[in-house]
Amino acid sequence: MKTPDDTDPTSVHASELGCSEPAPHSRFADELVPHLDALFAMAKRLTRSTTEAEDLVQDTVLKAMRSEDHYRPGTNLKAWLYRILTNTFINKHRRGGLERTVLEGPDSDPLVDGWVSASSMRQLRNPEEHALRPIVESEVQRALDELPTDFKLAVILCDVEEFTYEEIAKIMGCPVGTVMSRLHRGRRLLQRSLYSHAVAIGILPSEPMTNVSEPTDLNAFRAKKSRGAA
Protein backbone atom coordinates (compact mmCIF):
# COMPACT_ATOMS: atom_id res chain seq x y z
CA MET A 1 0.00 0.00 0.00
CA LYS A 2 2.56 2.51 1.06
CA THR A 3 4.98 3.57 -1.64
CA PRO A 4 8.60 4.20 -0.72
CA ASP A 5 8.41 7.86 -1.59
CA ASP A 6 5.16 8.55 0.20
CA THR A 7 5.30 12.17 1.12
CA ASP A 8 3.27 12.22 4.30
CA PRO A 9 5.28 10.10 6.66
CA THR A 10 2.64 10.26 9.34
CA SER A 11 0.03 8.39 7.35
CA VAL A 12 0.31 4.70 6.93
CA HIS A 13 -1.52 4.66 3.63
CA ALA A 14 -0.47 6.42 0.48
CA SER A 15 -1.00 10.13 0.81
CA GLU A 16 -2.72 12.32 -1.72
CA LEU A 17 -0.60 15.30 -0.75
CA GLY A 18 2.09 16.04 -3.26
CA CYS A 19 4.76 18.10 -1.58
CA SER A 20 8.14 16.45 -1.43
CA GLU A 21 10.43 19.45 -1.39
CA PRO A 22 13.16 19.55 1.19
CA ALA A 23 12.82 21.99 4.07
CA PRO A 24 13.54 25.55 2.98
CA HIS A 25 15.85 26.32 5.89
CA SER A 26 17.91 24.44 8.42
CA ARG A 27 16.14 25.71 11.54
CA PHE A 28 13.78 22.76 11.51
CA ALA A 29 16.74 20.41 11.53
CA ASP A 30 17.93 22.16 14.69
CA GLU A 31 14.71 21.23 16.40
CA LEU A 32 15.23 17.58 15.62
CA VAL A 33 18.71 17.31 17.15
CA PRO A 34 17.60 17.09 20.79
CA HIS A 35 15.48 14.04 19.98
CA LEU A 36 18.20 11.95 18.37
CA ASP A 37 19.20 10.06 21.49
CA ALA A 38 15.65 9.13 22.39
CA LEU A 39 14.84 8.12 18.82
CA PHE A 40 17.93 5.97 18.69
CA ALA A 41 17.10 4.30 22.00
CA MET A 42 13.64 3.44 20.72
CA ALA A 43 14.97 2.25 17.38
CA LYS A 44 17.48 0.03 19.12
CA ARG A 45 14.75 -1.60 21.18
CA LEU A 46 12.60 -2.17 18.12
CA THR A 47 15.25 -3.49 15.78
CA ARG A 48 17.55 -5.13 18.36
CA SER A 49 20.53 -4.08 16.24
CA THR A 50 22.71 -0.98 16.41
CA THR A 51 23.24 -0.75 12.66
CA GLU A 52 19.58 -1.18 11.87
CA ALA A 53 18.70 1.30 14.56
CA GLU A 54 20.97 3.88 13.00
CA ASP A 55 19.40 3.25 9.60
CA LEU A 56 15.94 3.60 11.07
CA VAL A 57 16.75 6.89 12.77
CA GLN A 58 18.45 8.23 9.67
CA ASP A 59 15.42 7.38 7.54
CA THR A 60 13.15 8.93 10.15
CA VAL A 61 15.08 12.13 10.40
CA LEU A 62 15.46 12.61 6.67
CA LYS A 63 11.76 11.96 6.16
CA ALA A 64 10.97 14.43 8.89
CA MET A 65 13.12 17.10 7.27
CA ARG A 66 11.55 16.48 3.88
CA SER A 67 8.10 16.70 5.41
CA GLU A 68 8.44 19.83 7.48
CA ASP A 69 5.26 21.14 5.86
CA HIS A 70 3.29 18.34 7.45
CA TYR A 71 4.34 19.34 10.93
CA ARG A 72 2.18 21.94 12.65
CA PRO A 73 4.47 24.19 14.69
CA GLY A 74 3.66 24.29 18.37
CA THR A 75 2.30 20.77 18.47
CA ASN A 76 4.23 17.92 20.01
CA LEU A 77 7.24 17.50 17.77
CA LYS A 78 8.49 14.48 19.60
CA ALA A 79 5.21 12.64 19.13
CA TRP A 80 5.30 13.54 15.43
CA LEU A 81 8.80 12.15 15.10
CA TYR A 82 7.87 8.99 16.92
CA ARG A 83 4.96 8.53 14.56
CA ILE A 84 7.33 8.71 11.61
CA LEU A 85 9.71 6.29 13.26
CA THR A 86 6.94 3.81 14.07
CA ASN A 87 5.55 3.92 10.54
CA THR A 88 8.98 3.58 9.00
CA PHE A 89 9.71 0.59 11.19
CA ILE A 90 6.40 -1.07 10.37
CA ASN A 91 6.88 -0.55 6.64
CA LYS A 92 10.36 -1.92 6.67
CA HIS A 93 9.90 -4.87 8.92
CA ARG A 94 6.35 -5.95 8.87
CA ARG A 95 4.01 -6.50 6.02
CA GLY A 96 0.67 -6.28 7.69
CA GLY A 97 1.12 -3.69 10.38
CA LEU A 98 1.70 -4.61 13.98
CA GLU A 99 1.11 -8.09 15.25
CA ARG A 100 -2.44 -8.84 16.09
CA THR A 101 -2.20 -12.00 18.08
CA VAL A 102 -0.17 -12.62 21.14
CA LEU A 103 0.41 -15.90 22.82
CA GLU A 104 0.15 -15.19 26.46
CA GLY A 105 -0.83 -18.35 28.17
CA PRO A 106 -3.54 -18.41 30.79
CA ASP A 107 -5.18 -15.10 31.42
CA SER A 108 -3.81 -14.65 34.87
CA ASP A 109 -1.96 -11.96 36.70
CA PRO A 110 0.58 -13.39 39.08
CA LEU A 111 0.87 -10.28 41.14
CA VAL A 112 -2.81 -9.99 41.76
CA ASP A 113 -4.22 -13.49 41.58
CA GLY A 114 -2.70 -14.55 44.85
CA TRP A 115 0.50 -16.18 43.58
CA VAL A 116 2.83 -13.61 44.94
CA SER A 117 2.68 -12.28 48.45
CA ALA A 118 3.11 -8.65 49.34
CA SER A 119 6.41 -9.42 50.98
CA SER A 120 7.66 -11.10 47.82
CA MET A 121 6.73 -8.07 45.80
CA ARG A 122 8.66 -5.99 48.26
CA GLN A 123 11.61 -8.32 47.82
CA LEU A 124 11.80 -7.52 44.16
CA ARG A 125 12.40 -3.91 44.87
CA ASN A 126 14.77 -2.13 47.11
CA PRO A 127 12.75 -0.21 49.72
CA GLU A 128 15.48 2.29 50.45
CA GLU A 129 16.26 3.05 46.83
CA HIS A 130 12.73 2.70 45.49
CA ALA A 131 14.12 0.81 42.55
CA LEU A 132 14.37 -2.83 41.65
CA ARG A 133 17.22 -4.78 43.14
CA PRO A 134 20.06 -4.56 40.62
CA ILE A 135 19.96 -8.24 39.89
CA VAL A 136 16.32 -8.00 38.93
CA GLU A 137 16.74 -4.63 37.26
CA SER A 138 19.03 -6.01 34.59
CA GLU A 139 16.30 -8.48 33.79
CA VAL A 140 13.93 -5.66 32.94
CA GLN A 141 15.77 -4.85 29.73
CA ARG A 142 15.71 -8.43 28.58
CA ALA A 143 12.06 -8.84 29.46
CA LEU A 144 11.22 -5.69 27.56
CA ASP A 145 13.14 -6.82 24.50
CA GLU A 146 11.19 -10.04 24.45
CA LEU A 147 7.78 -8.41 24.46
CA PRO A 148 5.81 -8.56 21.22
CA THR A 149 6.28 -5.38 19.23
CA ASP A 150 2.96 -3.71 19.87
CA PHE A 151 3.21 -4.28 23.61
CA LYS A 152 6.82 -3.16 23.62
CA LEU A 153 5.95 0.04 21.77
CA ALA A 154 3.09 0.89 24.08
CA VAL A 155 5.13 0.31 27.23
CA ILE A 156 8.09 2.33 26.00
CA LEU A 157 5.96 5.22 24.75
CA CYS A 158 4.11 5.39 28.05
CA ASP A 159 6.55 4.41 30.77
CA VAL A 160 9.75 5.78 29.28
CA GLU A 161 8.76 8.61 26.99
CA GLU A 162 5.67 9.52 29.01
CA PHE A 163 3.38 10.32 26.13
CA THR A 164 -0.31 10.57 26.93
CA TYR A 165 -2.67 7.81 25.85
CA GLU A 166 -3.97 10.10 23.11
CA GLU A 167 -0.49 10.75 21.81
CA ILE A 168 0.37 7.06 21.91
CA ALA A 169 -2.83 6.28 20.00
CA LYS A 170 -1.76 8.72 17.27
CA ILE A 171 1.76 7.39 17.17
CA MET A 172 0.65 3.78 16.94
CA GLY A 173 -2.35 4.45 14.75
CA CYS A 174 -4.90 2.70 16.95
CA PRO A 175 -7.69 3.72 19.35
CA VAL A 176 -6.99 4.75 22.93
CA GLY A 177 -8.75 1.64 24.20
CA THR A 178 -6.30 -0.52 22.30
CA VAL A 179 -3.42 1.45 23.76
CA MET A 180 -4.69 0.83 27.27
CA SER A 181 -5.15 -2.85 26.59
CA ARG A 182 -1.67 -3.23 25.13
CA LEU A 183 -0.21 -1.34 28.05
CA HIS A 184 -1.96 -3.48 30.58
CA ARG A 185 -1.04 -6.74 28.92
CA GLY A 186 2.51 -5.67 28.18
CA ARG A 187 3.07 -4.67 31.78
CA ARG A 188 1.59 -7.91 32.98
CA LEU A 189 3.96 -9.88 30.77
CA LEU A 190 6.87 -7.85 32.08
CA GLN A 191 5.88 -8.48 35.68
CA ARG A 192 5.46 -12.16 35.08
CA SER A 193 8.87 -12.29 33.43
CA LEU A 194 10.47 -10.60 36.38
CA TYR A 195 8.72 -12.87 38.81
CA SER A 196 9.86 -15.99 36.94
CA HIS A 197 13.39 -14.71 36.76
CA ALA A 198 13.47 -13.91 40.45
CA VAL A 199 12.23 -17.38 41.30
CA ALA A 200 14.71 -18.97 38.89
CA ILE A 201 17.67 -17.31 40.54
CA GLY A 202 16.36 -17.91 44.01
CA ILE A 203 15.46 -14.42 45.16
CA LEU A 204 11.86 -15.36 45.64
CA PRO A 205 10.36 -18.54 46.95
CA SER A 206 8.39 -20.37 44.35
CA GLU A 207 4.83 -19.86 45.41
CA PRO A 208 2.43 -22.40 44.04
CA MET A 209 -0.37 -21.48 41.70
CA THR A 210 -3.03 -22.07 44.26
CA ASN A 211 -3.03 -21.14 47.89
CA VAL A 212 -2.75 -24.73 48.94
CA SER A 213 0.77 -26.13 48.97
CA GLU A 214 1.76 -29.60 47.80
CA PRO A 215 1.58 -32.16 50.55
CA THR A 216 4.67 -34.30 50.97
CA ASP A 217 2.84 -37.26 52.32
CA LEU A 218 -0.62 -38.42 53.14
CA ASN A 219 -0.44 -37.47 56.79
CA ALA A 220 0.72 -33.99 56.00
CA PHE A 221 -2.04 -33.74 53.43
CA ARG A 222 -4.65 -34.78 55.94
CA ALA A 223 -3.25 -32.46 58.53
CA LYS A 224 -3.34 -29.59 56.10
CA LYS A 225 -6.81 -30.45 55.01
CA SER A 226 -8.06 -30.44 58.55
CA ARG A 227 -6.54 -27.02 59.14
CA GLY A 228 -8.62 -25.81 56.25
CA ALA A 229 -7.80 -23.46 53.43
CA ALA A 230 -6.31 -20.19 54.64
Binding site: E21, A38, P73, L144
Partner: protein, 352 residues
Protein backbone atom coordinates in the same frame (compact mmCIF):
# COMPACT_ATOMS: atom_id res chain seq x y z
CA UNK B 1 -6.18 -9.31 52.52
CA UNK B 2 -6.82 -9.98 48.88
CA UNK B 3 -10.26 -9.57 47.44
CA UNK B 4 -11.75 -9.95 44.00
CA UNK B 5 -11.63 -6.19 43.75
CA UNK B 6 -7.90 -6.30 43.32
CA UNK B 7 -8.11 -7.72 39.86
CA UNK B 8 -10.42 -4.94 38.80
CA UNK B 9 -8.12 -2.34 40.20
CA UNK B 10 -4.99 -3.80 38.66
CA UNK B 11 -5.44 -2.00 35.36
CA UNK B 12 -6.60 1.19 37.04
CA UNK B 13 -3.44 1.41 39.08
CA UNK B 14 -1.48 1.54 35.86
CA UNK B 15 -3.68 4.31 34.54
CA UNK B 16 -3.34 6.14 37.85
CA UNK B 17 0.44 6.05 37.57
CA UNK B 18 0.07 7.28 33.99
CA UNK B 19 -1.93 10.27 35.18
CA UNK B 20 -4.83 9.28 32.97
CA UNK B 21 -7.60 8.62 35.46
CA UNK B 22 -10.59 10.85 35.94
CA UNK B 23 -10.66 12.33 39.45
CA UNK B 24 -13.71 10.37 40.56
CA UNK B 25 -12.15 7.06 39.61
CA UNK B 26 -8.91 8.10 41.26
CA UNK B 27 -10.76 8.43 44.54
CA UNK B 28 -12.08 4.89 44.20
CA UNK B 29 -8.62 3.56 43.53
CA UNK B 30 -7.05 5.47 46.39
CA UNK B 31 -9.79 4.24 48.66
CA UNK B 32 -8.95 0.65 47.77
CA UNK B 33 -5.23 1.26 48.14
CA UNK B 34 -5.71 2.54 51.65
CA UNK B 35 -7.29 -0.77 52.59
CA UNK B 36 -5.22 -3.21 50.57
CA UNK B 37 -1.58 -3.90 51.25
CA UNK B 38 -1.19 -6.20 48.26
CA UNK B 39 -2.27 -3.55 45.81
CA UNK B 40 -0.07 -0.98 47.46
CA UNK B 41 2.87 -3.28 47.06
CA UNK B 42 1.90 -3.96 43.49
CA UNK B 43 1.74 -0.26 42.75
CA UNK B 44 5.10 0.24 44.38
CA UNK B 45 6.50 -2.56 42.27
CA UNK B 46 5.04 -1.06 39.12
CA UNK B 47 6.68 2.23 39.88
CA UNK B 48 9.98 0.53 40.49
CA UNK B 49 9.71 -1.29 37.19
CA UNK B 50 9.05 1.97 35.39
CA UNK B 51 12.05 3.54 37.09
CA UNK B 52 14.20 0.70 35.83
CA UNK B 53 12.74 0.96 32.34
CA UNK B 54 13.65 4.61 32.22
CA UNK B 55 17.14 3.83 33.40
CA UNK B 56 17.48 1.32 30.60
CA UNK B 57 16.90 4.12 28.12
CA UNK B 58 19.27 6.63 29.55
CA UNK B 59 22.28 5.80 27.46
CA UNK B 60 22.70 8.37 24.74
CA UNK B 61 23.40 7.24 21.21
CA UNK B 62 27.06 6.31 20.65
CA UNK B 63 29.13 9.26 19.55
CA UNK B 64 29.95 7.88 16.13
CA UNK B 65 26.27 7.22 15.44
CA UNK B 66 25.44 10.75 16.48
CA UNK B 67 28.22 12.10 14.34
CA UNK B 68 26.97 10.35 11.24
CA UNK B 69 23.37 11.36 11.86
CA UNK B 70 24.34 14.99 12.36
CA UNK B 71 26.44 14.92 9.22
CA UNK B 72 23.54 13.54 7.22
CA UNK B 73 21.20 16.16 8.59
CA UNK B 74 23.73 18.89 7.96
CA UNK B 75 24.21 18.02 4.33
CA UNK B 76 20.50 17.54 3.81
CA UNK B 77 19.64 20.93 5.23
CA UNK B 78 22.54 22.70 3.53
CA UNK B 79 21.46 21.34 0.18
CA UNK B 80 17.92 22.40 0.90
CA UNK B 81 18.65 25.95 2.00
CA UNK B 82 21.00 26.54 -0.90
CA UNK B 83 18.18 26.05 -3.34
CA UNK B 84 15.34 27.86 -1.59
CA UNK B 85 14.60 31.55 -1.15
CA UNK B 86 14.79 32.87 2.43
CA UNK B 87 11.50 32.50 4.28
CA UNK B 88 9.99 35.26 6.41
CA UNK B 89 10.27 34.60 10.10
CA UNK B 90 6.84 33.39 11.12
CA UNK B 91 7.71 32.97 14.73
CA UNK B 92 6.74 35.59 17.28
CA UNK B 93 9.36 37.66 18.98
CA UNK B 94 8.65 35.85 22.20
CA UNK B 95 10.24 32.71 20.92
CA UNK B 96 13.72 31.71 21.94
CA UNK B 97 15.97 31.37 18.95
CA UNK B 98 17.23 27.88 18.32
CA UNK B 99 18.97 28.61 15.07
CA UNK B 100 22.46 27.42 14.69
CA UNK B 101 22.02 24.55 17.09
CA UNK B 102 22.73 21.99 14.41
CA UNK B 103 25.77 23.96 13.32
CA UNK B 104 26.87 24.25 16.90
CA UNK B 105 26.39 20.54 17.46
CA UNK B 106 28.42 19.73 14.41
CA UNK B 107 31.04 22.32 15.37
CA UNK B 108 31.25 20.91 18.89
CA UNK B 109 32.04 17.65 17.35
CA UNK B 110 35.00 19.23 15.55
CA UNK B 111 36.55 20.54 18.72
CA UNK B 112 38.42 17.81 20.35
CA UNK B 113 38.94 14.41 18.88
CA UNK B 114 42.04 12.35 18.31
CA UNK B 115 42.92 12.65 14.65
CA UNK B 116 42.72 8.94 14.08
CA UNK B 117 39.12 8.64 15.09
CA UNK B 118 37.02 7.99 12.07
CA UNK B 119 33.28 8.21 12.15
CA UNK B 120 32.72 5.93 9.22
CA UNK B 121 31.07 2.66 9.88
CA UNK B 122 32.76 -0.58 9.20
CA UNK B 123 31.82 -1.79 5.73
CA UNK B 124 30.21 1.54 5.06
CA UNK B 125 29.75 1.85 1.37
CA UNK B 126 28.29 5.35 1.51
CA UNK B 127 30.34 8.21 0.06
CA UNK B 128 33.03 9.52 2.39
CA UNK B 129 31.52 11.76 4.98
CA UNK B 130 32.93 14.86 6.49
CA UNK B 131 35.27 14.08 9.32
CA UNK B 132 33.55 14.71 12.63
CA UNK B 133 34.79 14.37 16.15
CA UNK B 134 33.37 13.02 19.32
CA UNK B 135 30.42 15.00 20.58
CA UNK B 136 31.28 17.14 23.59
CA UNK B 137 30.41 15.07 26.64
CA UNK B 138 29.90 17.85 29.16
CA UNK B 139 26.57 19.26 28.02
CA UNK B 140 25.07 15.86 27.25
CA UNK B 141 26.11 14.58 30.66
CA UNK B 142 24.61 17.56 32.45
CA UNK B 143 21.27 17.05 30.76
CA UNK B 144 21.40 13.35 31.49
CA UNK B 145 22.10 13.91 35.19
CA UNK B 146 19.24 16.33 35.58
CA UNK B 147 16.95 13.93 33.79
CA UNK B 148 18.05 11.00 35.92
CA UNK B 149 17.54 12.99 39.07
CA UNK B 150 14.05 13.94 38.06
CA UNK B 151 13.08 10.46 37.02
CA UNK B 152 14.51 8.67 39.98
CA UNK B 153 12.19 10.82 42.00
CA UNK B 154 9.27 9.92 39.82
CA UNK B 155 10.08 6.28 40.43
CA UNK B 156 9.79 6.92 44.15
CA UNK B 157 7.16 4.85 45.79
CA UNK B 158 4.60 5.96 48.24
CA UNK B 159 6.06 5.24 51.63
CA UNK B 160 3.19 3.52 53.31
CA UNK B 161 2.91 1.58 56.49
CA UNK B 162 2.64 -2.11 55.80
CA UNK B 163 -0.34 -2.79 57.99
CA UNK B 164 -3.29 -4.18 56.17
CA UNK B 165 -5.65 -1.65 57.66
CA UNK B 166 -5.15 2.07 57.71
CA UNK B 167 -6.52 4.53 60.18
CA UNK B 168 -7.17 8.19 59.54
CA UNK B 169 -3.59 9.18 60.31
CA UNK B 170 -2.36 6.80 57.68
CA UNK B 171 -4.90 8.12 55.21
CA UNK B 172 -3.64 11.63 55.81
CA UNK B 173 -0.12 10.36 55.36
CA UNK B 174 -1.19 8.85 52.06
CA UNK B 175 -2.70 12.08 50.86
CA UNK B 176 0.28 14.08 52.09
CA UNK B 177 2.53 11.88 50.01
CA UNK B 178 0.27 12.39 47.04
CA UNK B 179 0.58 16.17 47.56
CA UNK B 180 4.31 15.87 47.56
CA UNK B 181 4.14 13.69 44.49
CA UNK B 182 2.28 16.49 42.70
CA UNK B 183 5.03 18.93 43.54
CA UNK B 184 7.64 16.47 42.40
CA UNK B 185 5.72 15.99 39.17
CA UNK B 186 5.97 19.72 38.57
CA UNK B 187 9.66 19.72 39.30
CA UNK B 188 10.17 16.81 36.94
CA UNK B 189 8.28 18.69 34.23
CA UNK B 190 10.52 21.69 34.83
CA UNK B 191 13.63 19.60 34.77
CA UNK B 192 12.78 17.86 31.53
CA UNK B 193 10.35 20.22 29.85
CA UNK B 194 8.12 19.33 26.99
CA UNK B 195 8.19 21.99 24.29
CA UNK B 196 5.59 24.75 24.64
CA UNK B 197 2.48 24.39 22.54
CA UNK B 198 1.49 28.02 22.43
CA UNK B 199 3.78 31.01 22.38
CA UNK B 200 1.13 33.68 22.29
CA UNK B 201 0.24 34.61 25.89
CA UNK B 202 -3.35 35.30 24.85
CA UNK B 203 -3.73 31.80 23.53
CA UNK B 204 -2.15 30.38 26.65
CA UNK B 205 -4.90 32.11 28.60
CA UNK B 206 -7.34 29.81 26.85
CA UNK B 207 -5.92 26.84 28.71
CA UNK B 208 -8.32 27.90 31.41
CA UNK B 209 -10.91 25.54 30.06
CA UNK B 210 -8.66 22.60 30.77
CA UNK B 211 -7.21 23.80 34.03
CA UNK B 212 -10.43 25.06 35.55
CA UNK B 213 -9.08 28.35 36.85
CA UNK B 214 -8.13 31.60 35.12
CA UNK B 215 -4.72 31.40 33.53
CA UNK B 216 -3.10 34.79 33.62
CA UNK B 217 0.17 34.89 31.82
CA UNK B 218 2.53 37.50 33.24
CA UNK B 219 4.44 38.93 30.35
CA UNK B 220 7.29 39.75 32.63
CA UNK B 221 8.07 38.34 36.02
CA UNK B 222 9.18 40.84 38.58
CA UNK B 223 12.20 42.89 37.58
CA UNK B 224 14.14 41.83 40.64
CA UNK B 225 15.10 38.67 38.80
CA UNK B 226 16.54 40.57 35.89
CA UNK B 227 15.05 40.70 32.41
CA UNK B 228 12.62 37.85 31.79
CA UNK B 229 10.73 36.69 28.82
CA UNK B 230 7.92 34.28 28.23
CA UNK B 231 8.91 31.32 26.11
CA UNK B 232 5.58 29.58 25.81
CA UNK B 233 3.00 27.47 27.55
CA UNK B 234 1.31 24.13 27.39
CA UNK B 235 -1.02 21.89 29.34
CA UNK B 236 0.48 19.09 31.35
CA UNK B 237 -1.42 16.14 32.75
CA UNK B 238 -0.88 15.49 36.41
CA UNK B 239 -1.33 12.24 38.31
CA UNK B 240 -4.90 11.75 39.27
CA UNK B 241 -6.38 12.95 36.02
CA UNK B 242 -5.99 16.66 36.57
CA UNK B 243 -4.29 19.19 34.33
CA UNK B 244 -2.12 22.17 35.02
CA UNK B 245 -0.90 24.96 32.78
CA UNK B 246 2.85 25.09 32.41
CA UNK B 247 4.29 28.51 31.61
CA UNK B 248 7.94 28.57 30.65
CA UNK B 249 10.09 31.62 31.17
CA UNK B 250 13.70 32.53 30.73
CA UNK B 251 15.38 34.77 33.22
CA UNK B 252 18.73 36.50 33.07
CA UNK B 253 19.56 37.12 36.71
CA UNK B 254 23.08 38.46 36.24
CA UNK B 255 24.87 40.36 33.59
CA UNK B 256 27.26 37.54 32.80
CA UNK B 257 24.70 36.36 30.29
CA UNK B 258 23.64 33.14 31.91
CA UNK B 259 20.03 32.30 31.18
CA UNK B 260 17.95 30.41 33.67
CA UNK B 261 14.67 28.69 33.07
CA UNK B 262 11.76 29.31 35.37
CA UNK B 263 8.60 27.30 35.09
CA UNK B 264 5.33 28.49 36.53
CA UNK B 265 2.52 26.01 36.99
CA UNK B 266 -1.06 27.20 37.26
CA UNK B 267 -3.63 24.85 38.70
CA UNK B 268 -6.89 24.57 40.59
CA UNK B 269 -6.01 24.43 44.28
CA UNK B 270 -9.37 22.90 45.15
CA UNK B 271 -8.57 19.85 43.08
CA UNK B 272 -4.86 19.66 43.67
CA UNK B 273 -3.14 20.29 46.94
CA UNK B 274 0.44 21.02 46.11
CA UNK B 275 3.03 21.14 48.80
CA UNK B 276 5.61 19.26 50.78
CA UNK B 277 6.42 18.90 54.45
CA UNK B 278 9.85 20.46 54.07
CA UNK B 279 8.65 23.77 52.64
CA UNK B 280 8.93 26.82 54.85
CA UNK B 281 6.06 29.21 55.17
CA UNK B 282 6.75 32.88 54.76
CA UNK B 283 4.89 36.06 54.00
CA UNK B 284 5.68 38.24 51.01
CA UNK B 285 3.67 41.36 51.54
CA UNK B 286 0.20 40.03 52.28
CA UNK B 287 0.69 36.79 50.37
CA UNK B 288 1.57 33.51 52.05
CA UNK B 289 4.19 31.54 50.15
CA UNK B 290 5.73 28.13 50.80
CA UNK B 291 9.35 27.87 49.67
CA UNK B 292 11.99 25.24 49.75
CA UNK B 293 13.84 22.68 47.73
CA UNK B 294 12.41 19.65 46.00
CA UNK B 295 14.57 17.17 44.16
CA UNK B 296 17.37 19.69 43.76
CA UNK B 297 15.27 22.55 42.48
CA UNK B 298 14.03 25.66 44.15
CA UNK B 299 10.26 25.66 44.55
CA UNK B 300 7.76 28.22 45.68
CA UNK B 301 4.03 27.62 46.04
CA UNK B 302 1.21 30.04 46.68
CA UNK B 303 -2.43 30.74 46.05
CA UNK B 304 -4.02 33.93 44.94
CA UNK B 305 -7.69 34.57 44.34
CA UNK B 306 -8.49 30.90 44.10
CA UNK B 307 -5.69 30.08 41.67
CA UNK B 308 -2.75 27.93 42.64
CA UNK B 309 0.76 28.75 41.51
CA UNK B 310 3.87 26.63 41.81
CA UNK B 311 7.21 27.77 40.51
CA UNK B 312 10.27 25.65 39.87
CA UNK B 313 13.69 27.10 39.10
CA UNK B 314 17.31 27.32 40.16
CA UNK B 315 16.86 30.71 41.74
CA UNK B 316 17.52 31.43 45.40
CA UNK B 317 14.59 31.10 47.81
CA UNK B 318 14.10 34.84 48.29
CA UNK B 319 13.84 35.53 44.59
CA UNK B 320 11.58 32.53 44.08
CA UNK B 321 9.26 33.66 46.83
CA UNK B 322 9.12 37.17 45.42
CA UNK B 323 8.48 35.95 41.90
CA UNK B 324 5.63 33.64 42.76
CA UNK B 325 4.05 36.15 45.13
CA UNK B 326 4.14 38.79 42.43
CA UNK B 327 2.46 36.59 39.86
CA UNK B 328 -1.09 37.30 40.90
CA UNK B 329 -0.55 41.03 40.80
CA UNK B 330 1.80 41.38 37.84
CA UNK B 331 0.54 42.98 34.63
CA UNK B 332 -0.47 40.29 32.21
CA UNK B 333 -1.22 40.04 28.53
CA UNK B 334 -4.73 38.86 29.26
CA UNK B 335 -5.62 40.82 32.37
CA UNK B 336 -8.08 42.96 30.46
CA UNK B 337 -9.84 39.80 29.36
CA UNK B 338 -10.06 38.23 32.79
CA UNK B 339 -13.66 39.28 33.23
CA UNK B 340 -14.61 37.63 29.95
CA UNK B 341 -12.73 34.46 30.71
CA UNK B 342 -14.47 34.11 34.07
CA UNK B 343 -17.80 34.15 32.30
CA UNK B 344 -16.78 31.71 29.61
CA UNK B 345 -15.34 29.31 32.18
CA UNK B 346 -18.79 28.94 33.67
CA UNK B 347 -20.45 28.46 30.34
CA UNK B 348 -18.18 25.83 28.89
CA UNK B 349 -18.06 22.22 29.98
CA UNK B 350 -15.59 21.61 32.75
CA UNK B 351 -13.83 18.43 31.85
CA UNK B 352 -12.81 17.47 28.34
Amino acid sequence: MMTGECRRFAQLVGALLDGELEPVVTLDVEDHLVRCENCREKMALERAIRGSLKKAFETPAPSDVRARLLATMQSASTAASASAPPEPDLITTERVSTSGRLDAAVADESQSTPPNHSPSRPNDSAPARRWLQTFGIASAAAVLLAWMAAHEQIGTLLRLPSHASMNDDAKMLLSAHINEELLRDFVAQHSRPLPPEKEDPNQVGQFERYVGVPVHVPVHLTQRAGPTHFVGGRIVPIHGGERAAMLQYEVRPSSDGGVQRVTLFVYDPRKMHVGAPNLARRAVGSTEVHVGQTDGYSVAVTQREGVGYAMASDLDPDTSADLVAAVGGAPTASSHRSAESHLSAEDTAVHP
